[in-house]
Symmetry: C2
Subunit: 284 residues, 2 copies
């Protein structure tokens, strides 16, 4: 079957960690649409300029990206896949520049701060904030300073033809970001995900309950009574509506299996609001 | 009663949003210890150089600061107060520089990105990344560029003697950060928080359960069966331990009330691990 050529939108410059996630999710050969804002990422898929969108949803150090949960609710673009990407920071320079020449290191301040042990070891290196990680690689390749390096992903080094001087210089190796691949509802219907028979599935839902004592307990009963395993639960206060909460919940299973259908029907009786964001194979 | 002079540690430069939170939590006159890393903030309190520490724990757009939950578990410094700070970004310049002269705006990239509507309205303004928000105010006051401004908190403008040219230029006004005030266990015992009789209290706990279906449901039953109201629940996968989770949970009430004591005793039977992080008056 001939498939449409993949065009994937993501937030950030070429070579951003989202592009690394895009490669894991859709292979090496997708065309990409780098966007300035997350909203643009969703819009480019909704308006048909992209065949898919890749967005970060949570990070093991920094928590959930609430903004993208908001866009998931607003745009109604189903999740069809997830992946967990380890955030590996690399010291990257122009080809031919040796480590001993480097005095300044450009990157996004968050990335610079995630490499403080490295900088403590090499006090001759000045940290210089830059707009984003991949953009700092692009800049040193264009402006060719002889004493500067950048911190970014391996994909950024590759895309801009730069060289990795030191690999994996982040202080904490438990830095993972979970990304979703989104499609339009039409695309998801026409191209069902094909998997091996013993694949584990996950389903993501958002629901709200009025905050009376025990309301979450009752909501979780619909999964516990049916032996459905939870993989994530998170409450988010609704601003301007004191005592009302959104809940993000992932459970193991497909929304269209009989057991999950019953649980979601039951949850619909208890929740004020319920939306299924998608079912997708669980990432390894 | 004479109290020890307050010395509060926080992460970031003078004038960071953490300093604004510090003023809300301990008044205007505390001495402050700005620290580079969150770990240093906790350490300076644990080692007696500070009388208190102020740390962000979650943001309405960016989620929970997992790193600080890790430090709360490691350092065992009790939470004695919370506050919710609205993140207000201001355009700040040297006194005497008018808005029409500004061509470059320095700040942390996250702050610059939270003001994209403002930049769309004034396309003559170039965004320049800087190490932190307050530090960008310090820099323009020291180096005195005639065409540059910074984006930071009102406290930063005040501390560095700069002037606010435009107030509240952030795109999303629902940007709040919740901060905790921490003390040493000895200090917390010697200075119990005094409150009006009808004050609502909150208690924060961390616990883990083995991930068998229904384990969280059983854990929440200890609160539901006693009509204790939840204010936050969040799961966090334990990396390297597939299928084990930490849960962050806040409930309304004091840990030393009879009802809460019973609930926590019951939770201790169900959880593999349980720690009470503190009880404190609920922020308005």
């Amino acid at each position: 079957m001939k498939r449409t050529r993949e065009v994937i939108s993501f937030q950030g410059a070429r070579g951003a960690f989202s592009e690394e996630a895009t490669r894991k999710l859709t292979g090496e050969h997708a065309e990409v649409i780098p966007c300035e804002r997350f909203e643009d990422v969703f819009r480019s898929l909704a308006e048909g300029r992209a065949t898919g969108a890749v967005v970060p949803i949570e990070n093991t150090l920094a928590g959930s990206v609430h903004e993208n949960y908001d866009h998931l609710l607003h745009f109604e673009l189903p999740i069809v896949a997830e992946t967990n990407l380890r955030i590996v920071h690399n010291l990257i320079a122009q080809p031919g520049i040796s480590f001993s020449k480097i005095r300044r290191v450009y990157s996004h301040p968050v990335a610079l701060n995630q490499c403080l042990d490295f900088f403590a070891k090499y006090p001759q290196l000045e940290r210089v904030p830059f707009y984003d990680t991949a953009g700092s690689v692009k800049m040193i390749m264009e402006q060719k300073p002889q004493d500067a390096a950048a911190i970014a992903s391996q994909v950024a080094a590759e895309i801009y033809g730069a060289r990795i001087l030191r690999r994996s210089i982040e202080s904490d190796r438990r830095n993972f970001t979970r990304f979703f691949l989104l499609r339009t509802p039409q695309y998801a219907r026409r191209h069902p995900v094909r998997t091996a028979p013993n694949t584990h599935w996950k389903t993501s839902v958002v629901f709200s309950t009025r905050n009376v004592p025990g309301s979450l307990f009752r909501a979780l009963s619909v999964f516990a009574l049916r032996d459905l395993d939870l993989a994530k639960i998170e409450s988010r206060p609704l601003r301007g509506k004191p005592w009302e909460y959104l809940f993000y919940l992932d459970f193991l299973g497909r929304a269209d299996s009989p057991n999950a259908k019953n649980a979601l029907g039951h949850l619909g009786e208890i929740a004020d609001f319920l939306r299924v964001l998608g079912s997708y194979p669980k990432s390894a």
